[in-house]
Symmetry: C2
Subunit: 358 residues, 2 copies
DNA sequence: CTGAAAGCGCTTACAG
DNA sequence: CTGAAAGCGCTTACAG
């Protein structure tokens, strides 16, 4: 005692039955006599026995664990995504094995390969979906996979993603409807798929409206780059009517720059973001943005993965069959003060947007 | 092929060596002839072989995985904590097996027991440390453990925690130094250890200063309860000079209530929070608060756990020995606008607080 | 340097 | 309903 962990053999010896019977009793199989079952459970409790996870996984070929491989584990987006995944995992009695790789493709490859024999399925978000062969080479064979916000040139795995293009178009149309004509866009990282799609939506929407004028400023999805962009916008010769930042963090950084310069939002210049992070409604003025339910994205991704896992042991085959086009989630316009007070009121009166959490 | 995963036997057969040699080659043991090693690696690569995690763990008695059991996985606090843990885990080549239990003690017990045979050590945060026997009964025996922000009546495991009491005292003293006399405190959940310690600090600091007057309002650590408390404070007969919310989220909710009521901060009433969440510096006015480096807490907790793990296989013994008093991390006062503009300037001029990220 | 064999702690047909 | 035995896929003394 004290040195060696208690195993199923200890329980069997103490309960005077075979390990097979202990296993069956503990796993709730029906073919165990009731008094025997009780005896086993009682001994297991008394010895504080817990089954050895690796041993159980190895022999049962099931881990009750879901692998989650993400670019990062912290920050608003991943936190919400994990919340959604966690909610479903808990409800379905699954554990979560998380890995992050911080932008290193090799590390992501290693993380994916390390999942073999540890999980029953994989939720993966990768910016490298575009690289030929990357996913095929790094995703464990035979393991059900659902991709999240990961662009696949040719869909080979089931996937869920946010329709960033549609969201950006909706925001530009909102700004135009408020009478703003010259609109500055603060973009995200060039290699980021969300950022690219939002940029594409911005350009398409501007191009579709004669009279609309677009300008673009670079950004990195963080406050600091939003702040820099805000200063650059103020320093530019002609001040735009509105600024559309590709995410809320940059919009906040930009707002901060405007506040520092004494420029009033939305009086002097309108402002909008993307994501609807919790802070968006707390800043002053509150921020007009596109609401993306990240948690719902996580929930649906795991739900879909569990369908595959439960559909049968024929992992890859099922996955291949279920692939097809990515399932798309469309963001919702949330009108608040920053895009133009009067118009916001007018829209609110008509009872349209922003009826959610406001 | 296609149906069966490739195992070490497939690699051995293909490379014309024994499985033992494959294992040694793949694990970088030195006792493998160079040409043989190359051949094995080449075959493994070609077959896209990855070792089976459970099998490897079972036979090597090591998982390279750290179990993390937290009340919740999302939200600012846990997100930051996980960030710190993740940073160290990545640097040291460890994976993270996460479990949340959302306030259900039975579920936490189950999560803890399920870790056996899946992890090499455990990072645990639990509000049930006070219940007699809870930790002793639920923590897997023989597994190194470090507790985070978990109160133990009699220290039995190594632990790290935030010194919330000292933080609250420091904040009250700051408010008093600014000339505020009547101070309202918005508390957190009654069963929450952090909340209780902050409340205790508030009371002690008020009691230590003749002339200071304290009032208390209930809260739940979320924006909504801060908002309610803010309204209750305005509705009360005598308006306090300052409000000290036990966390930033409530401070923001309170601020929102004040803004709605046309009450100016800090002109009409000063406001302070606790935690220094990222938004704290973006709201208007920016929020005076206590900075708690949650990420550092996570980093240090895992670093300490790894020390134990690497110290030897004698898990519980080492753990017991290393226990002693909890290692304490003291929050830092960050003075911004909300606690009183003039005073903040004055302090800034003296070059004291808030020199961090500002 | 290499291989045959035992063993990690379970689960699960297979007999009875 | 129960047990003896094989097997899950690895690692690691033990011999040589």
């Amino acid at each position: 005692m004290g040195r060696q962990a208690v195993t199923i053999r200890d329980v069997a010896r103490e309960a005077k039955v075979s390990v097979a019977t202990v296993s069956r009793a503990l796993n709730g199989h029906s073919n165990v006599a009731e008094p025997v079952r009780r005896q086993v459970l009682e001994v297991a409790r008394r010895l504080r026995y817990s089954p050895h996870g690796a041993a159980r996984s190895l022999s049962s070929r099931s881990t009750q664990t879901i692998g989650v491989v993400l670019p990062d584990l912290h920050g608003e987006f991943f936190s919400e995504l994990i919340r959604g995944i966690d909610a479903v995992a808990r409800a379905r009695g699954r554990r979560l094995l998380l890995s992050s790789y911080h932008g290193d493709p090799d590390e992501q490859g290693a993380a994916l390969r390390a999942m073999r024999g540890r999980v029953d399925g994989l939720l993966v978000m990768s910016p490298y979906g575009d690289r030929p062969g990357f996913l095929a080479e790094n995703l464990p064979q035979l393991l059900p996979v659902v991709l999240i916000n990961t662009h696949q040139p040719e869909p080979a795995w089931p996937a869920l993603e946010i329709d960033n293009h549609a969201g950006a178009v909706a925001m530009v149309e909102h700004l135009l409807a408020l009478g703003h004509r010259r609109i500055a866009f603060i973009g995200g990282p060039a290699h980021n798929h969300d950022a690219r799609e939002r940029l594409r939506g911005f350009r398409d929407a501007i191009a579709a409206h004669p009279g609309a004028v677009g300008e673009e400023y670079p950004g990195e999805f963080d406050e600091a780059s939003g702040h820099r962009a805000g200063r650059a916008i103020l320093a530019s010769g002609t001040r735009p009517d509105a600024v559309f930042a590709a995410n809320d963090m940059m919009a906040l950084g930009c707002l901060y720059a405007f506040v520092q310069a004494g420029v009033r939002v939305p009086g002097d210049i309108a402002l909008a973001g993307f994501d609807d992070i919790p802070l968006a409604r707390f800043v002053h003025p509150s921020l007009t943005t596109m609401r993306v339910s990240i948690a719902a994205l996580g929930e649906r991704a795991l739900a879909r993965l569990l369908e595959q896992i439960e559909a049968g042991a024929d992992g890859a085959e099922t996955a291949g069959a279920a692939a097809g086009a990515a399932q798309v989630m469309v963001p919702e316009l949330v009108v608040r003060e920053s895009s133009g007070r009067e118009a916001a009121r007018a829209q609110a009166r008509r009872g349209r947007p922003g009826k959610g959490r406001e």
